[in-house]
Amino acid sequence: MRTALVTVLVLAGAAYTGGDSSHPHFDDKGTLRWQTTLAAAQAQAKKETKLVFIEYGRKL
């Protein structure tokens, strides 16, 4: 039971810590490549001469 719970928690965490790709909470139809950490987003913005667009929200 405990192992199963840990597995679920790890998988839930993994879903939110992936690299850059689609938004983890909704489908933006490929509008942006999304990062899930500020450092990664800032590094990408610097590389591409862009701003960081932060969407601070919750999965519905």
């Binding site: 509008t31 899930t36 913005a45 701003l51 969407e55 919750r58």
Partner: protein, 231 residues
Amino acid sequence: MERVLPTEEIKERLAKLAVGLAADCDRPERGVESLMRANLPNAQMLPFVAFVTHDGKWVGGYSGSKAMYAFLEEIEKAEKTPHLQASRADRKKLAGLIPRAQKAAEKNNWKTVVKAGQTAAGIWGRCPEREQIAALVGEARAWANTQFAEAIKIARTATDLVPARKLLSGVKKHFAKDPEAGEAAAGLKALGKLASILKIEAKGTPRPDLREKYAKPFEDTRWAVIFDKKE
């Protein structure tokens, strides 16, 4: 947000302006939370939305949902930020790269053009000078693509693969450290495999799955087609 982001009016414009950070308010990163607290102190309605620079300067933001045209106004404001523009000193540095790159492009010396692009990438900020350099690098990339297409044509129609190899080696030489160099290296590897196939086929009856087997590592690449039977 889900409905607004993919709309025609927003999609391309936002992608040109920013990269996305999907921040989970239930597991907030300290840096993101600090930015929001400092700049949207009275925010209550999710989502909290912000534009910031790569080094953490606040550009603009709001809390709660916005309809498409209201969100478009936020984008317009962010587009006008001086924080995205190159400084005068950096514009001068970028301008200094242009004459040499232009002359090089006229002579098909793409190595120099690519190098100018790499140097420009290390200088921050948007400006017309950067766009001029980007256009020259675009010409270099277009040239590389014509070389790839020509190499594929040769590989699909001729038995002598040396001219195709020469084309790809040329691209590799000009684009060291850029993705085109990797693409050319993959092409050279594929040509090597194709040469082995041609040798085996010339000796007699090859295995029926010979081409398929050799082509496998190149699936989903532009090089896969050279393993099809000769035209």
